[in-house]
């Protein structure tokens, strides 16, 4: 199984709690991806988020830079909010990164938009989000399936293409396009019907409750006649690895608190309750926080339900100190991944 990480480029905090610069956050994100590659991690996903605390607004640019600075790691968006972007531009940016990477290491994950800020930012009406997403995903898939750089496409939500060149083409002709979902059953069915790999974002509750969704995805794909390597599942979740469970919890909690204070301010929630964190921090909770043994065991446990081929963690929430992120990336690659492989081999 592939083991990886993803990030929205969370900004660091000063000791008084104030936010450090978004430019520094992007620089740190680049450093983390390069570090993950050197450590041997399989995958790194980037953004997209548009807030001062999470400024990874431009996954394509970050991934292009990372493509030049890394040699083996797979790079993807986690996710690209294609509903409020131009699929042609998204495709061009990722195909450019694919060319820089040497080919075969760049993926696009298409999301519908889990937070609302991109809609007013780019002049879209949130009420249209379903149609925007379906329309733009269709264009993105058309671009990827086109054998020629000249593409013809027509849809309601973007000017038509009538044979214009969309360049560069990916090195191998196409890039993996994943569909991201937070657990809406219709999205799993849609991914299967379209024959796209599906990426589940599991941020709360027992992760194994997503098992029926993965089953729905696979059966929808089979019913639509889609088979082969594109029919696969990945899981994105929150977590942090440290030498001991105690350290992992102590390192993750302050950032979790900061993140929930911010979400609460936006959504009218009360102050975060530490019990809510603790409830997710042990099996069967959603946070993969612990020492390498525990995190590996929980990933393998979920694999029994989901059969996923990639498990990747968001670890730098709420201003986690950069050195803790880097150490967690190292432990994921050098300690968790071998344990996962060994445990999976034992299960046969």
């Amino acid at each position: 199984m592939e083991i990886g990480a993803y990030s929205f480029g969370d900004a660091q905090r000063n000791t008084d709690g104030t936010l450090r610069s978004s430019a520094e956050a992007v620089k740190n994100l680049h450093e983390a991806i390069v570090h993950a590659d050197r450590a041997g991690l399989d995958y790194f996903g980037v953004g997209e988020h548009h807030t001062e605390t999470m400024p990874a607004s431009s996954p394509g640019a970050v991934i292009a830079a990372a493509a030049a600075s890394t040699s083996a790691i797979t790079l993807g968006s986690a996710a690209s909010i294609i509903s409020t972007d131009d699929p042609v531009r998204v495709y061009q940016q990722f195909a450019t990164a694919d060319a820089i990477s040497g080919g075969g290491r760049v993926e696009i994950t298409a999301g519908r938009g889990s937070s609302v800020e991109t809609f007013p930012l780019f002049g879209y009406d949130l009420a249209d989000y379903d149609e925007l997403y379906a329309n733009k995903l269709n264009l993105l898939m058309t671009l990827n399936d086109s054998e020629s750089p000249e593409v013809t496409w027509r849809g309601a939500r973007r000017p038509e293409l009538s044979g214009q060149a969309v360049v560069p083409q990916p090195v191998s002709g196409r890039m993996p396009i994943w569909l991201a979902t937070g657990g809406n059953a219709g999205s799993s069915a849609r991914a299967g019907q379209l024959g796209l790999p599906v990426s589940y974002g599991i941020i709360g509750g027992a992760p194994q409750r997503f098992a029926p969704l993965a089953e729905l995805y696979r059966k929808s794909a089979a019913a639509a006649g889609h088979t082969g390597d594109d029919i696969k599942v990945s899981v994105a979740a929150l977590g942090l690895v440290a030498p001991t469970k105690k350290e992992a919890m102590e390192r993750m909690y302050p950032g979790w608190y900061n993140l929930n204070v911010e979400m609460g301010r936006l959504r009218g929630w009360p102050a975060p309750d530490k019990n809510a964190f603790l409830a997710q921090a042990d099996a069967p909770g959603a946070y993969y926080v612990g020492d390498p043994d525990e995190v590996a065991e929980r990933i393998v446990h979920l694999h029994g339900y989901m059969g996923h081929m990639r498990h990747f963690l968001q670890m730098d929430i709420g201003g986690l100190p950069q050195e803790h992120l880097l150490e967690s990336l190292t432990l994921l690659a050098t300690e968790v991944k071998p344990r996962v492989e060994r445990l999976l081999a034992q299960k046969g």
């Binding site: 009420a127 059953a185 219709g186 069915a189 709360g204 029926p212 729905l216």
Partner: protein
């Protein structure tokens, strides 16, 4: 045409998103028959319903509307996709919220001083709308239910203008594992809309009753 709470055996659910499927599973676990419909043709949702809500029946909106109790769990901005004529004379639970910071602002609701459920009641003229199940998270709904009498049993508020409809919904909430607490007329649902203390927390019947009392605004100043 209407059933009393004693003989509601079938729950109809419009919408098969995270909320609709969670309500369906909890209702099935409580022993109800469940019918589900979305805007899509039946054959397009059968597999989804069979896998995600095993035991429920995929059907169309007209058939869902014949259930003793109908739950509307579509995205609020899509409520007009529901055929209101099907629901005339029916008891309907409105689980939807206008929660602008999370789902975006919807002008029709933003610009209306009434609660979202009063707007829905206007749209569903002839139905008896009860606001409930909107202030519990969809995965909490399947985790927090307890048998009647349990000391830590969570309470859920309901608001509506028909006492008969509210009795029906109260019986349903009880069987799902929650203490029903009547907040009063449909307009009183303001006390458990997004941003309120009730919406943000988890409460016993005693706590919820006190919060509703605190929230009650005098009719005149």
């Amino acid at each position: 045409m209407n059933s009393s709470d004693a003989d509601v055996r079938t729950i109809g659910i419009l919408g098969a998103g995270r909320v609709g499927t969670a309500v369906a599973r909890q209702a099935l676990a409580a022993g109800y028959r469940v019918k589900m419909a979305t805007a899509k043709p039946i054959d397009e949702i059968t597999m989804l319903v069979d896998i995600v809500t095993p035991g429920a029946v995929a059907t169309d909106a007209a058939d869902v509307a014949t259930a003793g109790l109908v739950v509307i769990a579509v995205p609020l901005h899509k409520h007009r996709t529901v055929d209101s004529s099907l629901l005339a004379g029916r008891t309907v639970i409105d689980v939807m919220n206008h929660w602008a910071p999370t789902d975006g602002r919807i002008d029709e609701f933003e610009d209306d001083p009434r609660t979202s459920s009063e707007v829905i009641q206007d749209f569903l003229a002839g139905a008896d709308v009860v606001k409930s199940l909107n202030h519990i998270g969809y995965h909490e709904l399947e985790e927090d239910g307890r048998p009647a009498g349990a000391a830590d049993r969570r309470a859920l508020a309901l608001a509506g203008d028909s006492d008969r409809a509210k009795a029906c919904v109260a019986g349903f909430l009880d069987r799902l594992g929650y203490d029903p607490v009547d907040a009063g007329a449909l307009a009183a649902g303001r006390a458990f809309q997004p941003g309120t203390q009730i919406f943000n927390g988890s409460h016993t019947a005693e706590q919820l009753t006190a919060l509703l009392r605190d929230a009650a605004v005098p009719a005149t100043v």
